[in-house]
Symmetry: C2
Subunit: 350 residues, 2 copies
């Protein structure tokens, strides 16, 4: 667990330097183009998908497992689909959004912490020098995360997250973060649910960071959000029971941790899994190894114009072993550039 | 966490002696009596409940939170109801059923462990001397639990549990354990679900021990079962990914652990909670402290004829602080003897 955790932290750490550098500013222009020539409700349900092998693989799988006369039929209660979040349901560049939240929180909390102007990594963050802030590596990152994610009640943290989502803007696109989600994936979520699937998030992101927006944004209720977590403590404050978020890691839901988290939270092996990086490989392996029809899908970031293009050498969302295994196992690898007609949903802003 | 765990183990330990002694053999004779004179679908849904304050409290609450014109209306996605298992949904005497499973497993596994005839606590279990088996206290109990619950894959453990449930009989009633559930509580589960509630088990019992029977018996799918757990490890065996159950405790879902587990698994505060012992008190306090209409229910074991009668001094399912707090908070305290027309469902055996 320690090594997984360290790797996760290193990824965030190393990648932090990109925050300071130039970020691509291209983003989606919502398309109003008509549906493809293919017919049927599956096409209407996946309107932002071009008529390519990827879309056909998804609809074919769903048809097979939902048709009672198919040898691959799966009863509704076993139709479990799991989705990574960062890079699969929403973007993850130039940095994991939760880390950008933490930076914003340090700035917002600074007036209550005058000592931070003299303490690293906070002093550097407040000066806008992210490179210096993270010079102390994992230690600095943990300080930032615990200062902004612990020492308050779960209710207080939830309110803070909600307020941030209501106001914060993505640094390069200027969009609210809840509009940095992938329109084609929103359609997959809805399409699967229409076909009797129960959809879960299984993400390395913080479980309490995702829950406040997952229901409105993805239609995924809190009880179907699985993520990394800190320990919590039940106690009474002024006679009122509260849960205190403590500065101790409980579980890192990444790599080999994902199948463990799936077993812990869901207790049933998924029949469909969606990811975008090597951090999702174990989840897809676990899904694929079950009996009966299975669908494993990787989203490949190939669109430098409309989103970002990265894979084997990326510090964030590295997609290397997973790409090899997807190719040898004939899993679905979504090419964002050619498979997706639109990337992001229409903006809610005028 | 350590002390909660120790307390839990001590309860099981101290109570083990009752296994050897005489146990009450009374059990339910399913009644075919007609419904009470009250009318309405609520009454039909709770057919095994007498027309008392307890039943009326439950139906009144459900009517208030489901009526869109009521000031207490709660939208369906927030209708979360949590249930303890041992002593609330099924019986827990003369010992927690999971411990009886562990004893049976020691006996079944003994041929593969010839060394056990010379090793405690196994040697004493195999001689039928439970008192001697547990003479070494918590250490002995952990040995028994880990020998029977760890060192195998999750799939192997699930198959073992299912086989045990298919064959094992309760030591005093002779019923299958899945028929040691409370008929009135099955009706409450169904009644709440009919009214748009999502029902969860939140139990001190092992999460992987409950899931294999919870769906068929209670209508509660694996992803809505929360319990105590051991750590697990993802690895490949002969090229196949497996989850190995390791001999290390991950989480004890009892007392103050229950609100923590609710936050971790459900992420939303329940509006209704059902328990039967002091181990459930924190869960009911957490539920009660939310805003809006709340329902907290304790099942009080008062029926020595048809089930068992125990509360403040019991080693299993001690109900002392909880009883005081229920009375001062005017929570519902179900009197099994007078509130329940039937205790157990009709037997499936001829």
């Amino acid at each position: 667990m320690k090594t997984v955790h360290q790797r996760l932290l290193c990824v965030a750490l190393i990648s932090a330097s990109t925050l300071v550098g130039a970020c691509r500013s291209q983003h989606a222009v919502p398309s109003t183009s008509s549906l493809s020539s293919s017919k049927g409700t599956d096409v209407a349900a996946l309107a932002s998908w071009n008529d390519t092998t990827s879309r056909r693989s998804i609809t074919s799988f769903v048809q097979r497992v939902t048709n009672p006369n198919s040898p691959d039929f799966v009863p509704p209660q076993e139709r479990i689909a799991v989705f990574d979040n960062d890079g699969t349901l929403w973007a993850e560049q130039p940095l994991y959004f939760q880390f950008l939240f933490a930076i914003d929180r340090v700035k917002a909390m600074a007036p209550q912490h005058p000592e931070w102007t003299q303490q690293e990594p906070f002093a550097s963050i407040l000066r806008g020098d992210m490179k210096a802030a993270l010079a102390d590596g994992e230690h600095a990152l943990l300080k930032i995360m615990f200062a902004t994610h612990a020492g308050m009640t779960t209710d207080e943290f939830e309110a803070t997250v909600k307020q941030w989502f209501a106001n914060a803007k993505h640094p390069t696109t200027g969009r609210p973060y809840t509009e940095m989600v992938y329109q084609p994936m929103l359609e997959v979520l809805a399409y699967l649910r229409t076909n009797g699937f129960k959809t879960f998030i299984v993400s390395g992101g913080g479980i309490e960071f995702m829950r406040p927006f997952a229901e409105a944004t993805y239609g995924i209720p809190p009880e179907q959000v699985v993520g990394s977590s800190g320990k919590q403590q039940f106690e009474f404050r002024n006679g009122v029971p509260v849960l205190i978020k403590s500065a101790e890691i409980d579980f890192i839901d990444d790599k080999e941790g994902k199948p463990v988290a799936i077993q812990k939270h869901i207790g049933r092996r998924p029949i469909a899994a969606f990811g975008n990086s090597d951090g999702d490989l174990a989840m897809l392996q676990w899904t694929a190894a079950g009996s009966g029809a299975r669908m494993c899908v990787f989203v490949h970031h190939t669109d430098a114009q409309r989103e970002w293009a990265y894979d084997r050498d990326s510090k964030i969302g590295r997609f290397d072993k997973g790409l090899d295994e997807a190719q040898s196992n004939r899993w679905v690898v979504v090419n964002m550039q050619s498979d997706w007609r639109d990337i992001f949903p229409p903006s809610s802003r005028p």
